[in-house]
């Protein structure tokens, strides 16, 4: 469970949000809503640990209910404007690097299966083909494959369906559904709400008066 207590944040003299209290529980997908510039992405960056809140706390409790010291072990983040991919590397090298960094030891077959799931399994796409040559949607699919392989219970998704085609959105929906069914949880920021409406369990408005 991710517990947010009295969270407040301001950019110097410009307050973004105040006193946010929320518990994100396993199996739930929470949609962060609000107008442009109200601080939805900033809220995610606070949970990811890129920024320090002005006030309040963010705690992560494991399955046993114990508070963990390093919540980075349990959280995977997907940025809105970037995919976090090494552009000179191919898809397999990227996935291998990120999953090994989390201590996972996936076999080549498992990597191939994951890439196939996201439509990137063709040998001419997955190896010896630098990610910089991928289309926007392909890069997003690869970032989502990394997210799926992270095996983290808490996902922070900032505009995750940006650049995805209809099939890509369906694949994402299926991944989210599996994640929720396996006890995972997620915060999602997306202005394109229609494709996700049946998956969302709760909404929080950021920057509301």
């Amino acid at each position: 469970m991710l517990s947010i207590k009295s969270l407040s944040f301001a950019f110097q003299h410009r307050p973004l949000f105040k006193e946010i209290n929320f518990d994100l529980v396993p199996g739930k997908l929470v949609h962060l809503i609000g107008e442009n510039g109200t601080g939805k992405s900033t809220f995610l960056s606070l949970i990811a640990g890129f920024r320090t809140p002005n006030e309040g706390s963010i705690s992560y409790f494991n399955d046993k209910g114990e508070e963990v010291d390093d919540r980075r072990v349990y959280i995977e983040y997907l940025s809105a404007e970037a995919n976090g991919l090494y552009t000179k590397m191919d898809a397999t090298q990227n996935l291998t690097f990120w999953s090994k960094l989390r201590g996972h030891k996936y076999s080549t077959q498992q990597m191939v299966e994951e890439l196939k799931k996201w439509g990137l399994g063709h040998p001419l796409v997955r190896t010896n083909f630098a990610v910089e040559k991928f289309s926007t949607g392909m890069k997003r699919r690869l970032a989502l494959a990394r997210l799926n392989l992270s095996a983290c219970p808490c996902w922070l998704l900032d505009e995750p369906i940006y650049g995805l085609d209809t099939k890509g959105i369906d694949l994402f929906k299926s991944a989210i559904l599996n994640h929720k069914e396996s006890g995972g949880m997620a915060f999602i920021v997306s202005h394109d709400t229609y494709p996700l409406k049946e998956l969302i369990d709760e909404k929080i408005e950021i920057g509301a008066k």
Partner: protein
């Protein structure tokens, strides 16, 4: 060494080597720069008397290394800067010391690929049949200098990653910080090649090693701050 630390260190190092090999221009450009600079020096200075050869060799070599290594160091986080990779790495459970040491070792390896040809070429251009300039001890001193400079390089490269005017900021901080290392390296090399008092030589080498230890320790400690949250 704990397993997670070791695995992350090797992973970052191995991945860094792959990234360097995938983008060879980054490696070739400092070597080309060093070669051009040494050739220009050789043309500019021309024939010199034997008593000046050692001084000219050291001045050329270390000045060229200072500038060409700066190019190498400043680019070490370039692959991590693209597509917000560095930001993603910040929210991964990475041991910051392993991350720093992985990058540091990578810089030493890449720096060696610049250092060795630079020294060989400088030695060739300042060839002295009576007293060889390229001794193993000179290489050892140059590697000790590289060890200190590399630590500053990694730290500053990470520090200036998000800074505007990075190209200006990096050398502004790098050059003053590299002075004690360069001074100790040049003085110890000069004492060594002149065959002077070995006590003085050890004093300068000792100072060089001290600065290496200080910079690597500072690197490990400060990198954690840089790689952590804002």
């Amino acid at each position: 060494m704990n397993t997670i630390f070791k695995n992350q260190y090797y992973l970052i190092l191995k991945h860094g080597i792959k990234m360097e090999l995938a983008d060879k221009e980054r490696l070739i450009s400092p070597i080309l720069f060093a070669t051009t600079m040494l050739i220009l020096f050789a043309f500019g200075i021309g024939e010199t008397s034997e008593d000046l050869i050692i001084k000219i060799f050291l001045a050329q070599t270390f000045l060229t290394l200072l500038f060409s290594l700066q190019i190498t160091f400043a680019r070490i986080f370039d692959p991590d800067e693209k597509d917000k990779v560095f930001q993603l790495l910040q929210c991964y459970p990475i041991n910051h010391a392993a991350w720093f040491l992985g990058k540091y070792t990578l810089v030493i390896l890449v720096g060696s690929l610049v250092l060795v040809p630079t020294m060989l070429l400088a030695g060739l251009l300042n060839h002295n049949p009576k007293a060889p300039l390229l001794t193993p001890e000179i290489f050892l001193i140059a590697f000790l200098a590289l060890a200190g400079l590399a630590s500053i390089g990694v730290l500053l490269s990470a520090m200036t990653l998000k800074a505007s005017g990075r190209e200006v900021l990096f050398p502004l901080i790098y050059f003053p910080l590299s002075t004690p290392v360069l001074l100790a390296a040049i003085q110890s090399s000069q004492v060594l090649l002149s065959g002077n008092n070995s006590d003085i030589l050890w004093q300068w080498v000792g100072l060089l090693v001290c600065f290496d230890v200080i910079y690597v320790t500072l690197g490990i400690l400060l990198f954690g701050e840089l790689a952590g949250s804002e």
